[in-house]
């Protein structure tokens, strides 16, 4: 019976991690549904980008208030995780504050700084909540944020808040128990850890007996670690995946000038054939020739895997949308919605594959029209403001462009004005109906 808590804890831990691993496999499978794209170049610069943008949060501070608060939560999250390691080991081994003896005075410093970070995280999270729910910043109340996305955003804040309170409660009760010399808690070496914040919980739990305090401490300890495991597993169902995916996403982010759109190789082959005077226009395709590649994207599987990774990485902060000229002037286009739609459709395709034993069965739906409307796609000015605004290198513009390619090259469904423009280019080499032979007339005009 003595080892029951250890065994129970180990089981909970394994379940938590196992379930998470299962979801990671789903995630990888879904992302791999995308087309292959070569991103193996420039490794040093890619590592550098990841270090600067994801680890260093350099683009977050483009908006100083949100950026600063985010860094508080981010640093708190990373550093407090050192404490989680100790909690896990204590849980498995049945020890109490395992790191205290080997770390000595450093341990006190660490625990003290965790506490200060915890209270800062609480403050930041409260401000975040106020920005979303009381101030109602524009970018958090756009149409695509209604329903689950709004709830999701708030739930994350509540979970973080509860976790921090549990952490402090656990420490406060522990501090009290150590002072009272309770068995298992107190050490002959003196008080383990320093408690600059949770000591103020003293008055609340002062009169409690050791056994009640143990219950408080154990409850907070268990809820805290189970809460963390829950949060880990919540990620897959939430926009909060960015805490993990921001790293690969910034690594695989675009390194070329933002104005450079990729040239479609399938088209290059066709164009070369057309320009080749010796090519036989009536030649039958070779028997073993593969089906011609589909131009552009109408569904998630037509996108490349980096674009799909982008969609899972998006944390719906809305900086892209708030910088978008089309959105600012009341058009339907919202770059954030492009990413959310891509993710939601990808998730749907993934679930379809799971329900049908590993292969996708046509559900009569696609990303185009069922999720993203043509009106949204045609409102884009390709100005790259959304790409620039994203703090973690997501590229909504590339998806918009791929979908336009599908509309124009597979469906001939461009707006009529654009068809006129393209007809002019084809016939006269200019987007307006002027003759190419008149191209130098301006020299003679006064």
């Amino acid at each position: 019976m003595e080892y029951l808590p250890n065994i129970l804890f180990t089981l909970v831990l394994l379940c938590g991690i196992g379930f998470f691993a299962k979801n990671v496999r789903r995630l990888v499978r879904n992302i791999k549904l995308g087309k292959d794209v070569d991103v193996s170049d420039n490794k040093p610069q890619r590592w550098n980008n990841m270090a600067r943008i994801a680890l260093g949060q350099t683009k977050m501070v483009a908006r100083p208030i949100a950026g600063f608060l985010h860094i508080v939560v981010y640093v708190g999250f990373i550093i407090i995780n050192v404490e989680v390691l100790e909690i896990i080991l204590d849980g498995i081994l049945g020890t109490h504050r395992l790191f205290s003896a080997p770390l000595g005075a450093v341990y006190d410093l660490l625990i003290g700084s965790f506490e200060i970070l915890a209270i800062l995280v609480i403050v930041a999270v409260v401000i975040f909540w106020i920005r979303r729910n009381i101030i109602r910043l524009q970018r958090f109340i756009k149409p695509e944020m209604e329903g689950w996305p709004k709830k999701d955003g708030n739930l994350i804040l509540y979970i973080e808040l509860v976790l921090m309170f549990l952490f402090l409660t656990m420490n406060g009760a522990d501090y009290q128990l150590q002072q009272m010399g309770a068995a298992h808690y107190a050490s002959e070496a003196g008080i383990m850890g320093s408690f600059p914040i949770s000591q103020f919980l003293g008055p609340l739990i002062n009169g409690m007996s050791i056994s009640s305090l143990v219950i408080v401490e154990r409850t907070a300890w268990w809820l805290h670690i189970v809460g963390i495991l829950f949060f880990l597993n919540y990620l897959y169902y939430s926009k909060h995946l960015h805490i993990l995916l921001a790293f690969p996403n910034t690594f695989y982010g675009n390194l070329k000038p933002k104005g450079q759109f990729k040239n479609l190789e399938a088209v290059t082959a066709e164009v070369k054939l057309m320009m080749d005077p010796s090519a036989d226009p009536f030649a039958a395709p070779e028997e073993d020739a593969p089906d011609p590649e589909k131009f552009g994207a109408s569904d998630v599987v037509d996108l490349n895997w980096v674009q799909l990774l982008n969609s899972y990485t998006c944390t719906e902060c809305g900086r892209c949308t708030s910088e978008c000229p089309a959105n600012q002037t009341g058009k339907k286009l919202s770059p954030r919605k492009i990413m959310m739609d891509t993710r939601d459709r990808l998730q749907e395709v993934g679930e379809n594959i799971e329900a049908n034993k590993g292969s996708f069965v046509d559900d009569g739906k696609q990303l185009l029209d069922d999720y993203i409307s043509r009106e949204e796609l045609w409102a884009c000015t390709s100005c790259n403001a959304c790409v620039e605004a994203c703090p973690i290198s997501i590229d909504p513009l590339s998806i918009i462009m791929d979908m336009r390619q599908y509309l124009v090259m597979e469906q001939s469904a461009a707006p009529s004005d654009l068809n006129n423009m393209m007809g002019n280019i084809e016939n006269n080499g200019a987007p307006w109906p002027f003759n190419q032979m008149d191209r130098l007339n301006w020299v003679e005009e006064s």
Binding site: T381, M421, I425, Q436, R439
Partner: protein, 263 residues
């Protein structure tokens, strides 16, 4: 000056056995749009005055394919690109300057993959270099004390990180450069990019160029400086919409320089 423009074509120079140092890519707007033609001429005046060895393709030039590509017609884009590249490579062109950021971006970034690799510069970069080399001099105080705000074209700024060359030129004019609340990396689009120039905007509360013009007006400028023929059109329309065309001019950087140099 005021004398006639000297606009040699590649074909003429080639026939005479000459090779210019740089090709001036005029672009469709610069060739056909009445407002943009003035920018072309202003730039030519500067080139003539600085004795730059250049030529244009003239009737051998064709649309780079930028609007087709941004509209999703990769096929038409590549047809245009391959045709243009054939012409340029046949003339052995090494360096290209253009006054249009869309042509600039396409020639610089998207042509190399299709066999056309050139040293491509925007005219603001080229002008800055001419000024630094002392090939043009700005005299008189045409713009002294004037408030000039600069609108970043997306395809020059965000797309290719050229923010300073045009600003350096404005500073050289002795003018007061005033920045809009959204500038440089955060510059707001004029509304023309992505082939929007050639279609009606989608339904919304406002046109993008009006929003941008309002931002420009907040700086109380005498002049809105642009570096793109399409931005120029959009901002000019915006100023007209606000009925401010009598007090606020929309000018290209090349025009500012040409006027300041009294060309």
């Amino acid at each position: 000056m005021g004398s006639e423009l000297k606009v040699p074509t590649m074909a003429e120079l080639f026939a005479a056995g000459q090779q210019p140092e740089v090709l001036f890519w005029v672009g469709c707007a610069g060739s056909f749009d009445d407002r943009a033609k003035k920018i072309t001429k202003a730039f030519i005046k500067i080139l003539n005055n600085a004795d730059v060895s250049f030529a244009v393709l003239g009737t051998e030039e064709s649309c780079t394919g930028d609007p087709a590509k941004r509209a999703g017609n990769e096929f038409l884009f590549q047809m245009q690109a391959v045709t243009n590249i054939e012409v340029m490579n046949a003339y052995g062109i090494k360096k290209v300057v253009t006054a249009c950021p869309h042509c600039f971006n396409t020639l610089k970034n998207e042509y190399p993959g299709l066999g056309g690799t050139y040293d491509v510069v925007h005219h603001t970069q080229f002008l800055k270099q001419l000024l630094e080399e002392g090939k043009i001099s700005l005299e008189g105080g045409t713009y002294k004390g004037k408030r000039i705000t600069y609108h970043d074209p997306c395809y020059l700024g965000r797309a290719n990180n050229v923010y300073e060359a045009p600003r350096d030129l404005i500073r050289k004019l002795d003018a007061e450069l005033v920045e809009m609340k959204n500038c440089k990396k955060k510059g707001l689009c004029c509304g023309a990019g992505g082939a929007q120039m050639f279609k009606e905007p989608e339904k919304g509360d406002k046109d993008v160029n009006i929003e941008r013009t309002e931002q420009a007006m907040e700086t109380q400028p005498d002049i809105i400086a642009a570096a793109c023929p399409f931005c120029n059109t959009m901002m000019t329309d915006g100023v007209k919409n606000k009925e401010k065309e009598a007090s606020v001019a929309v000018m290209d950087i090349a025009e500012l320089i040409a006027t300041a140099a009294d060309l």
